[in-house]
């Protein structure tokens, strides 16, 4: 990375030049620097509205960048150690989906763990690729899916030598990393591409003593959520490509679904955040790491809670752990993660990232201050004092990997019927069901529903998880594949 060059922020600088010119707008957006919408100006600020402008020659065009955006993308690629980088304005969802659409066509196989984000399953519905799930080890106590074991992924590659790509979470939401270097080696030996979902891994590119980043490990593509640990605006994201990808083809894939009115607020936030990370990321993430480690030791000191970290590492299913994550197992005080999550918000005015059945996750980032960490730890201690329940036999709520019967696309477009949740066991699911966050599907289209799964969904609902994905907003009925003589209905 050329630190001198990284002091530049071409999109931001172009916007500054543009602002000073005081150009009269006879183009969109129609609010015309906010004048047409004074209430919005009052709320968001004059400067913000003044920079909400359309693509034009001096500001380049995200769909076909030739000047400042191209330059910003080159700087981004350099900062992340990638051959090419794309600024993305439609969330990391679009980055993840572009990765898969770039390497998989209808009928191609993709090897992946089941604990992927819903955007992965959704794009499989769109493109018709066939998922080959690698069995994922589950930590029985924490109830969370771990990383991908090398022998298992190797077996999947051997069983499906025609697979087009391998998909890796680097890290998972909870901070768990697989041996991505070895996975890249095995995949590349077989001509398979490696896609790295780094929605929770921006900092891996800049921090020290952290797990290896996708690009450094040789992955072919990586989807990086700049807006999570990188500090850019919500919905902005970065897509990285390694040297063996055709960047212009990837751009075409992006343009299939990307807006033609890309927001310069998002683009400039990516530009400025990239510059900040390149210049100061190492120190910032050292501080984040320290804060998370401090919080972990303080929380473990309270007793009852288990804030896990590198102690989970077993060299295989947990090859490495991202210590900037603060995941805490809460059932030791007799409360589910979702209950603690709700208490923190309702009683202590503390919003954390999510709570699931067994755990909570607090997101620590470059914006945090140590006094806020003290609040979080203090609140967890107070929750234990006031709300602790004698450890009852709690449903451990472990991650379940269902049987795949149909591909997501086939199942999604199959004839379906709504069936009451409790009566769906044995049927094939026709839609997504998940808790959000974390947004990892409990059921995907084409999977066989079991009693264990319906019980899990029921329990999650009772405990207050926000269930989403189904056509029925209350998730009382699930659309399942219509059957004819006990077999999926053929349309």
């Amino acid at each position: 990375m050329d630190k001198n060059k990284q002091t530049k922020a071409p999109v931001y600088e172009a916007l500054e030049r543009f602002r000073k010119k005081r150009v009269v707008p006879f183009d969109v957006p129609g609010h015309k620097r906010g004048r047409g919408n004074p209430e919005l100006v009052e709320f968001l600020g004059e400067k913000c509205l003044g920079l909400d402008v359309n693509s034009m020659k001096p500001l380049d065009n995200l769909g076909h960048p030739v000047s400042v955006i191209r330059e910003a993308e080159e700087l981004t690629a350099d900062a992340f150690g990638a051959a090419h980088a794309f600024l993305m304005v439609n969330g990391t969802t679009s980055s993840v989906q572009t990765m898969i659409l770039s390497v998989c066509k209808e009928g191609d196989k993709i090897i992946l763990p089941r604990n992927v984000h819903k955007s992965v399953i959704n794009v499989l519905v769109l493109c018709g690729a066939i998922p080959v799930y690698v069995e994922t080890k589950v930590d029985e106590k924490l109830g969370i899916a771990l990383g991908t074991e090398i022998e298992k992924i190797q077996a999947a590659m051997e069983e499906h030598p025609d697979a087009a790509a391998v998909f890796v979470n680097n890290p998972t939401y909870y901070g768990i990393c697989s041996n991505i270097k070895e996975i890249v080696k095995l995949a590349h030996e077989r001509g398979m591409k490696v896609l790295s979902d780094e929605a929770h891994g921006t900092h891996l590119y800049f921090g020290e003593h952290l797990p290896v980043s996708g690009m450094a490990a040789g992955a072919d593509m990586a989807a990086v959520s700049m807006h999570k640990s990188g500090g850019s605006l919500t919905q902005s994201s970065i897509l990285l490509c390694g040297p063996n990808m055709d960047a212009e083809y990837v751009r075409q894939i992006i343009n299939l679904t990307q807006t033609t009115s890309a927001s310069y607020l998002l683009l400039s936030s990516l530009d400025i955040s990239r510059r900040n990370l390149a210049l100061r990321g190492r120190e910032s993430f050292a501080k984040v790491r320290q804060m998370a480690e401090y919080a972990r030791s303080e929380i473990n000191e309270i007793g009852g809670y288990y804030a896990y970290g590198k102690d989970l590492i077993d060299g295989n299913s947990v090859f490495d752990y991202d210590v900037t994550k603060l995941s805490v197992y809460t059932q030791g005080i007799g409360l589910t993660g979702i209950e603690v999550y709700d208490l923190l918000r309702d009683e202590y005015d503390i919003q954390i990232e999510f709570g699931d059945i067994g755990n909570i996750l607090a997101y620590i980032s470059i914006g945090d201050r140590i006094q806020d960490i003290e609040r979080l730890v203090g609140a967890l201690e107070d929750i234990k004092r006031l709300y602790k329940k004698e450890s009852q036999t709690m449903y451990c709520g472990k991650f379940i990997q269902p049987e795949t019967v149909l591909t997501p696309k086939k199942a999604f477009y199959q004839k379906k019927e709504p069936v009451e949740l409790s009566k769906t066991a044995g049927r094939i699911c026709g839609e997504l069901v998940m808790c959000y966050p974390p947004g990892i599907p409990i059921l995907t289209p084409g999977e066989r529903i079991t009693e264990e799964i319906t019980e899990y969904i029921q329990y999650a609902k009772e405990k207050g998880c926000s269930l989403q994905g189904t056509m029925d907003s209350k998730v009382e009925r699930i659309h399942v594949i219509k059957e004819q003589n006990g077999r999926p209905f053929r349309s």
Binding site: E298, E301, I302, E347, Y348, D349, R369, I370, Q371, D372, E374, R375, V377, G378, A379, E381, D382, R385, L386
Partner: protein, 291 residues
Amino acid sequence: MEENSRMDIWFSQMDTENVKTSVRVDKQLFSAQSEYQRIDVFESQEFGKMIVLDGEIIFSEADEFIYNEMIVHVPMAVHPEVKKVLIIGGGDGGVARACIDYPEIQTIDVVEPDQLFIDVSRKFFPETAKGFDDNRVRISNVDGLRFLRGCQAEYDLIINDSTDPFGHTEGLFTKEFYGSCFRALKEDGVMVYQHGSPFYDEDEAAFRAMHRKVYQCFPISRVYQASIPTCPAGYWMFGFASKKYHPLTDFDPDRWNQRKIKTWYYTTNLHMGAFMLPKYVEELLEEEENR
């Protein structure tokens, strides 16, 4: 001529976005950014030396006695035997100084994370900061919540002297903080805390929230008032939260008067009056209690 030689420099404290309190300043004696806050010291005609944290007057020579007397003597006139005191915040030393007049107090822990604040107070306000020199006083440079963690039934009196529910001390106006204080207090312990001002709309929400949280946490929770010129609206409130003693029915004026402590603001008559609140404040508090 003398009038002309004075500069026209004013320090303004923004009480709200639309109201400010301005003090004519003779000169600025100090300015620095600590790890936690911006610290300024001004010399003024009307208020003497003032210390300003993040733009808010925390302490002025002219009116500091009101705050310090009210936050210390009120609980001391109620609790029959205070041995261990914890002061959270209190980097200026004023509260500690008011405590050292009581011989029965054995230890005074001052928990002030910002060492620079203490140093500046010692340098510019040696009279006040001499509270730190008493051998019963122990200073800890840590976060208040951090200090309280794991602390159980140790203190008779906790004084929350931290500055601002919106600044770096915002964690000291939270349910987790009050809960931690409750745990750190002995079974007859008392917590007093500065309760802000209820007058301006912007402060009202914080005022309400504070009372709601403390009221839910402690069996006894009353609010009292004082008139402090450099505070927003010149009107300041304190909270009295207690596990056992009521600030009026367990109040012992004779015992306190026998001590013959020299004061400028506090009297035992005023003690009673301070708990008699304006109607609108009573209503705010009652609304939170009935939530």
